[in-house]
Amino acid sequence: MTRRLLLLACSLCLLAGMVAAVPCDGDGDGTLTAPELATAILDSLDARYMGGTVAAPSLTDLQDAAFVYEHWDGRALTITDTSGRTTTLTRPLNRIALFNSDAIRMMRSIGLEPDRVVGVAKYVLEDPVFYPEYQEKANLGSVWSPDYEQTASVRPDAVFLYASVSETSCADIEKTLRAIDPAIHFFRIDSFRPAVYADEVRTLGLLLGKEEEAREFLAFHEDVTGTVADVVDTIPDEDRVPVYLETWNAYKSAGMGSGYDEKVWLAGGRNIFGENPVEYPVVDPEAVISRNPAVIIKIVGAGETTFGGYDDDDLASFESVLRSIENRPVWDRIKAVRDGRVHLIHSKIIGGPDYFIGTAYLAKWFYPDLFADLDPRAIHQRYLDEFQRLDYDLDDHGTFVYPA
């Protein structure tokens, strides 16, 4: 019994020893104070430039300490991600692996330096027009087909996965990589769900030391979403425009609790299949006809409709899909078809972290009179210029909506 207790105590001591300390925290009290940081800086300068022989921290420790002091008030940071998991950090994240290809856009919006990313999902590497600065990063595969060898080889200090997409696959990735390197931190964020979007931006801002950039980006985001909400919130539920939303596969709609259902609501519409308990139900064409939507929204850019976006300037495929919807048997009875209110929108601006551009388009399509002054294209261009920091002119390139 005594031996067991001894073993337990030893184990606890070892565990306690494994809890990382804040670098350069001279007195070890868990808080890096200004005098402690100043001493560390002077010791380092002394050793490197002044011939001093005093024991100095490594440059890595010193830079990490500077980050912790400046961004986390000199203390360890404890954050809770979208999955509800709490993580404590004592150093900045500088070797980030991103299986969540949406998170990279959110991180770019708050100014994450690309050199802090060591690996990305394969989709990022397949899109050199939108992600030019990430083309030399390691290919981690995808959430569904991860490349563990490659991921381990880039020695990430953090791995970002989805919170509510492919949860089983993400759990498998986490389990496997944790077995390879127990020091890796795992974070689960979605980056595309409006309900948690602002919280995720703020969390990333704090986590990555980009608090001010996160505030600036959220001000822009809230300006757009607030402009729409101020108007649509005054519309009684029963007066909302009935909308049929179809994903990239024919007759596959969006049900209760899905991201697209939420986005239709945010834009002031009422999803005609919003009560369906299946997240993405395949619906009966007759059911669409009987529910007689005033607007039809078709998402393109994947599956059966892989065209458009940043690297496609040709609207011919948009026109073709629009005509095929209008020509579906008996769909000419649907109000949206009769009134010419069938719209196509690319998933790049409605399905991911750029969703607020898409909801601005939806709001304008749902209520053209109420949003006469809203200019979603200008919002899109500003987003690319100021937050994605891309040299990309929507006047010259890209196809995202049809008819515009």
Partner: protein, 163 residues
């Protein structure tokens, strides 16, 4: 050692020009050095631009003696002709040296931004190669070159005007 009587009108003009020209334009991650002649020595002001946490090492010219600084004592370390400053939120650091006023051109310094990893030469408005700062002569920079040219011009003008 110089005293105030030695600061002639020509030299005063030259030093004033140096004060203006050595103050490089503000840019992200840079340190400007402004040198003002004082009785028996020089006042040196380092203006910190966008370096919230970092360090500076200044090398005093030969013949200059450290006198003191307004920077906190626990953020300053002096060793021979080298002076280290820890920057934690400060925007300016002023220190004084005793020595010849024409030593103003011979100060050298290097800085590090511990948040970005950038480093550079004091007096340049862009991050650069800090090894230049180890030279005992002023770094060969547009700022210094321009300062020297203007100073020479000022001396020439003042001589011609004096004729």
């Amino acid at each position: 050692m110089l005293n105030s009587s030695i600061v002639t009108p020509k030299r005063a003009l030259l030093l004033c020009i140096l004060v203006v020209v050595l103050a490089a334009p503000a840019a992200a991650g840079s340190i400007e050095r402004t040198i003002t002649p004082q009785e028996g020595g020089l006042d040196i002001t380092l203006t910190v631009n966008d370096i919230p946490v970092g360090g500076i090492v200044e090398t005093l010219p030969e013949g200059c003696t450290w006198m003191g600084t307004d920077h906190p004592e626990d953020r300053t370390r002096v060793s021979g002709e080298k002076v280290a400053f820890a920057i934690i939120g400060e925007e300016t650091i002023t220190y004084q040296v005793q020595g010849p006023q024409d030593a103003a051109e011979a100060f050298a310094g290097t800085w590090e931004d511990l948040l970005t990893g950038d480093s550079g030469v004091v007096g340049l408005d862009e991050p650069g190669n800090p090894e230049q700062a180890d030279a005992t002569t002023p770094p060969s920079t547009p700022g210094f070159g321009c300062a020297a040219a203007l100073a020479a011009l000022a001396v020439l003008c003042s001589r011609r005007c004096g004729r």
